[in-house]
Symmetry: C2
Subunit: 228 residues, 2 copies
DNA sequence: ACCGGATCAAGTGTCGACAATTATGACATC
DNA sequence: GATGTCATAATTGTCGACACTTGATCCGGT
C-alpha cells in the first residue's frame, strides 16, 4: 500500500480511458509531466500508444479533478498550484475533515479505531528511527487523514477528499520538498484526534482536527513567507 | 436570473460538448430525463442532433458532477438520489457553507453585504405575499446561499458547491415537491447569518449557518420519516 | 525600422465507422 | 415446466479522418 487512493488504478481496468487516466494522473502528481506545461493531445496519445478518443476522455476526468485546466479551442495545461490556491485547499480540508472526524467519532467501528491507533503506533516508531522525514511526510500523514475520512462513511465526502484534494496535496509535496519540521507536532495532534474519536467525542474530534489542519496551513504560510 | 449557477450555460458556448452538457444537466435536474433511467448514447446524440463524441464528453462531465453513474461496458444511468445520499449532501453543505460564512464575514465587501441585505428584504416582502411558497423554496433559498459562498472568494469552494451540490439539491426539489413549511423560519435564519456577517463576526456566522443547514436537514429527515 | 494584414501550420473539435463486450431471446435438454 | 446454452442484436469502446479555430510567421506598406 504505497498510496492512499480511493479508486484502484491497478493497471487492469477494463477501459483504456480509465487506465490512461490513472497513469497520467500519477505522472502529473509525481511531477513527471511538469506543472504548467501545455498538453498536446496527439503527443500524449502517441506516448501511451492510444488514440485521441480515450485520451480526451481521460483529460476530461483530469479536468474534473482539477489537475488540468482546459480552455476551448486552446488546449489543456497542467495546473500551476499557486500559493493562494494551496491555502484554499487547506481551508476546505479544515471544514470537510473536521466534519469527517466528528462523524467518525460517532460511527467508526471499534475495530477501525483499533487499526487507527495501531497506525499511529507505527508512525511513532518510525519517527524514532532515522528515516522518518521521508516516509512520514510523504505518505503517513495522508494515510491517517485517509482513514478518518473513510471512517465517516459519507461517500461523497470520501470522494471529494480522496479523489480531488489529496492528489493536489500530494502533487504539491512532490513538487516542492515539503521539508516541514512539523512531523513530531503533527503526530501528536493525530494522537489527540484519535483519542477523541476513541472516546466517541465528536465535538472534540472536529475541533482538534480543524486545529490540526489549521496548524499545517499556518506552517505552509510561514514557509511561503520565508521563501519569498 | 432564473437560477444560481456558476458557469454560464447561455446556449452560446464555443464547443458543442459544453452546450449539450448544460442542456442535458438541466434536463436531468428538472426531471425531464427521469432519475434512474438508463441513458442511451445514440438516442441522446440523435435527440440533440450531434454525434456520439461530444455527447460522451458531456456524459463524462455529468459523471464528474455526480449526476450520472457510469459503469464500464454497461452504460450510464441517471443517479437515483437515495434518502441517505441526500442527507449526506446536507452534511457536506453544513461543513462547507459554515466555513464559507466564516470567511465571508471576514472578506465580503460592504457593497456585497448591502446587496445581500437587499436580497433578504426582497424575500421578506415575497413571504408576505401569497405566492411565496413557490418562489422562495424554488430559487430564493439557493440564491442566498449562493451569495454567501461567492462572498468567501474561495474558488474551489465555490466550484464544489455551485457546480455539484446545488444542482443535486435542485434536482431533489424538482423531483419531490419540497413543500416544506420552513420558509419563514429559514428566512429568519438567513437574516441572522447576514447580521453576523455584517458585524464581521466570522465565528458566529459559521455557527449560525451550520445551525441553519442542520435545521433544514432535520426537516427533511422528519418529512422522510412521515412519508415512509 | 515598425506596424498591420494575410498566409500557413499546428492543434482542437467533430464526425462516421469498426471492433469488442454485454444483454436478450429462442431452443434444446433435463 | 424449468434451466442451461447458444446465437443474435444492441450498445459501448475505440479508431482514423476531416473541418474549424487559434497562433505564428512572413510580407508589404508607411
Amino acid at each position: 500500500m504505497t498510496s492512499a487512493t480511493a479508486d484502484s488504478l491497478d493497471e487492469e481496468t477494463s477501459t483504456i480511458a480509465d487506465r490512461v487516466f490513472g497513469q497520467v494522473r500519477q505522472a502529473i502528481v509525481e511531477g513527471e509531466i511538469p506543472a504548467g506545461s501545455k498538453i498536446s493531445e496527439p503527443a500524449l496519445a502517441a506516448r501511451y500508444g492510444i488514440s485521441r478518443g480515450p485520451l480526451r476522455e481521460a483529460m476530461r476526468r483530469l479536468e474534473s479533478t482539477n489537475l488540468v485546466e482546459r480552455r476551448p479551442n486552446l488546449g489543456a495545461r497542467v495546473i500551476t498550484l499557486s500559493n493562494d490556491e494551496l491555502l484554499e485547499i487547506y481551508v476546505i480540508r479544515e471544514a470537510l475533515e473536521g466534519m469527517a472526524a466528528r462523524i467518525a467519532a460517532e460511527r467508526m467501528s471499534d475495530a477501525a479505531i483499533a487499526d487507527l491507533k495501531a497506525l499511529l503506533e507505527q508512525h511513532r516508531r518510525e519517527v524514532a528511527r532515522a528515516d522518518w522525514q521521508t516516509y512520514f511526510q510523504e505518505e503517513g500523514d495522508l494515510d491517517f487523514h485517509f482513514r478518518i475520512v473513510q471512517g465517516s462513511g459519507n461517500r461523497r465526502l470520501i470522494d471529494i477528499l480522496c479523489n480531488d484534494l489529496y492528489h493536489l496535496a500530494r502533487m504539491y509535496r512532490c513538487q516542492f520538498g515539503m521539508k516541514s519540521d512539523r512531523a513530531a507536532d503533527a503526530l501528536k495532534e493525530h494522537e489527540l484526534v484519535a483519542d477523541a474519536i476513541a472516546e466517541r467525542d465528536g465535538e472534540l474530534a472536529e475541533w482538534l482536527m480543524r486545529r490540526h489542519i489549521r496548524a499545517s496551513r499556518r506552517a505552509i504560510e510561514r514557509r511561503l513567507a520565508v521563501e519569498r
